[in-house]
């Protein structure tokens, strides 16, 4: 399934202290670089599952990001330098996006108080409110990585016309499940927290619940589309799903839930 591509730069092996290696494929946000990230992540997950490489038994966490994979390990279980060389050789052969994520269609309400910045974003982009909603709901977003806080998805694919800067002065409290955009990124805040992104909608379902399996709804490599819901539907779904005790597969277009 790996498409043919022009030659790209060699991955770099960077020490993150004595208990992690970062394998870096590039220094920018780029779907091709991220496809290599997901390729290595997939190879590592497979290699760890088969369990026949003693070196890899030292690995405790594999964290894909926009442009690199950080592999955390126990330095007492494997020789760090041997592990680093093994990771580098895997990176050179793992190819592109060997692992395809799941495809979600998640409900979002773009109405009223749930979308406090929507009018301003629309104005800044020279569009109507409905046009912004139409653009958001006709775009497939790609989850580049989970970070910043548990379950927070950094999603690429925002149409260029919707690129707006972060707020000059971040909000002290962004409500949980707010759909937000800034620059070329889209995200959902899983928790109430401070934040400087533009809030244009709200999801009725949690993105992280410690008791759910897996606890984070989204994973790096997933594709997400937004399904527009009205305020009444939002309230109904929030009542039913707010505690995180629901079958996530009902929102899947394709792929397994875990």
């Amino acid at each position: 399934m790996s498409p043919k591509i022009e030659p790209v730069s060699q991955p770099r092996l960077l020490a993150v202290g004595d208990s992690a290696w970062t394998i870096e494929f590039g220094d920018r946000i780029d779907p091709l670089i991220n496809a290599r990230v997901m390729g290595l992540t997939g190879s590592l997950v497979t290699a760890r599952e088969t369990g026949d490489e003693p070196l890899l038994s030292a690995v405790v966490d594999v964290v894909p990001t926009f442009r690199s994979v950080t592999v955390h390990f126990d330095p007492l279980v494997a020789d760090p330098d041997q592990l680093g060389q093994r990771l580098l050789s895997l990176a050179q052969t793992s190819g592109l996006a060997a692992r395809h994520g799941r495809h979600w269609r998640l409900p979002v309400c773009f109405e009223g108080d749930l979308a406090p910045d929507l009018d301003r974003v629309a104005g800044a982009c020279g569009l109507g409110r409905d046009e912004v909603v139409a653009l958001m709901s006709s775009t497939a977003f790609r989850v580049y990585m989970i970070g910043f806080m548990p379950g927070f998805p950094y999603m690429g694919g925002l149409p260029a016309v919707l690129n707006v800067p972060r707020l000059a002065s971040p909000r002290k409290r962004v409500p949980a499940r707010a759909l937000a955009i800034a620059g070329e990124m889209c995200a959902v805040y899983p928790w109430e927290s401070p934040g400087g992104w533009n809030l244009i909608g709200r999801l009725p379902l949690p993105l992280f619940a410690a008791r759910a399996e897996p606890p984070a709804l989204l994973a790096a490599g997933d594709v997400v589309e937004w399904q527009v819901i009205d305020h009444a539907t939002y309230q109904e779904l929030e009542q039913a799903l707010g505690k995180g005790d629901f079958d996530a597969s009902r929102f899947l277009v394709s792929g397994e839930t875990s």
């Binding site: 993150v16 202290g17 990001t65 926009f66 442009r67 690199s68 989970i146 928790w191």
Partner: protein, 344 residues
């Protein structure tokens, strides 16, 4: 037999911690766990727990805990004073580095650490529910510990009761961390700085500022100027406790146990695992020096540290506390302890 402690006074920001939460960082869940796992392991060893059992981490002002079911054995490790108010009213000092057996109704009152981080271990470990494989409190996501938050009045902490028959306590001299410069491995973004700036980093003292929490500690010193203004912001990549990130103002931040899983500032160097616990004991105004080592040296330091800690645990002395004297046992105990007491 089960023991039970109830929080009678919350103190300030006291949390349940263990070895941390592994296997969830790709979901954005921090590692968490004790800032000073060696000190926590000392407290656990004294009460006979596994080294990674859950303890109470104390950084600002300790809690007051009343024994509701017992007896319960406790041990403090770290730079903090405490006392016990016995159920009959007598107050006595609760010393660190020795166990104390508490009866039902006894109250432990833990003071404010003189800077640094202290741990209270209880027999059997603090038995709060496991969440994502750990009991460590991760405040930002309200995971672990007691409802994911700091201890509060009325919280009930299950542990294991001990037998008072032939009662013995255990003690050891205070664990002393290694001294000398904090050892780091340069990178992963040392190349965001000119070599002269790297020299500045290694050849200057860095003052510990009061801005320190479980996520990180800010240091103050000469500004570390990035190679270019653009180099001060990178596209986020993975971070780990010990990473020394340098934001645009040039003042480094050392990430600690509750740090995010990814970050967008260049990381000039990363503290080695063996020296991370020392950061938990830093006090504002203290000055730090960094020295570069390679991964082999870092690993050797960790192996040596584990060896020294095992020796310390092996040197724990069993003794019979004053006031509950059993002469024949005391006599035999002295013969034994004279041989195994490693204290100077």
């Amino acid at each position: 037999m089960s023991g039970l402690l109830e929080v009678a006074a919350a103190g300030l920001a006291n949390t349940v911690q263990d070895r941390g939460r592994r296997g969830y960082r790709h979901m954005g869940v921090a590692l968490s766990g004790s800032l000073d796992p060696l000190m926590a392991a000392c407290a656990n060893a004294l009460v006979g727990n596994q080294s990674g059992a859950a303890c109470i981490e104390i950084r600002y002002h300790g809690p007051e805990l009343r024994v509701m079911r017992g007896p319960v054995q406790v041990a403090l490790a770290g730079p903090v004073g405490a006392s016990v108010i016995r159920s009959r009213g007598a107050e006595q000092t609760l010393s660190a580095w020795t166990t104390t057996t508490l009866d039902v109704g006894d109250l432990v009152r833990i003071g404010a650490p003189a800077g640094g981080t202290a741990y209270l271990a209880v027999s059997g470990g603090v038995d709060t529910p496991l969440e994502l494989g750990s009991r460590a409190t991760y405040l930002r996501a309200s995971i672990g510990g007691v409802h994911g938050r700091a201890l509060a009045v009325g919280d009930r902490l299950d542990c294991r009761a001990v037998s008072t028959e032939g009662q013995r306590e255990r003690r050891q001299s205070a664990w002393a961390h290694a001294i000398g410069p904090i050892r780091v491995i340069p990178g992963p973004q040392a190349d965001a700085f000119e070599s002269a700036v790297l020299c500045t980093f290694f050849e200057n003292d860095w003052a510990v500022t009061p801005e320190m929490d479980r996520m990180g500690m800010r240091l103050a010193g000469p500004a570390l100027v990035h190679r270019s203004p653009e180099a001060a912001d990178i596209v986020s990549d993975g971070v780990t406790p010990g990473c020394i990130q340098v934001p645009g103002n040039g003042q480094p931040i050392v990430l600690l146990a509750d740090c995010q899983t990814v970050g967008g500032y260049p990381k000039i160097a990363t503290v080695i695992t063996a020296d991370l616990p020392r950061l938990a004991q830093c006090q504002p105004g203290e000055r730090l020096r960094f020295v570069a080592v390679d991964t082999a040296t870092a690993r050797a330091a960790l192996i040596e540290q584990n060896r020294a800690h095992s020796l310390w645990v092996g040197g724990i002395e069993v003794y019979r506390p004053p006031g509950r004297v059993d002469e024949s046992a005391l006599y035999s105990e002295n013969l034994i302890s004279g041989m195994i007491d490693a204290r100077v």
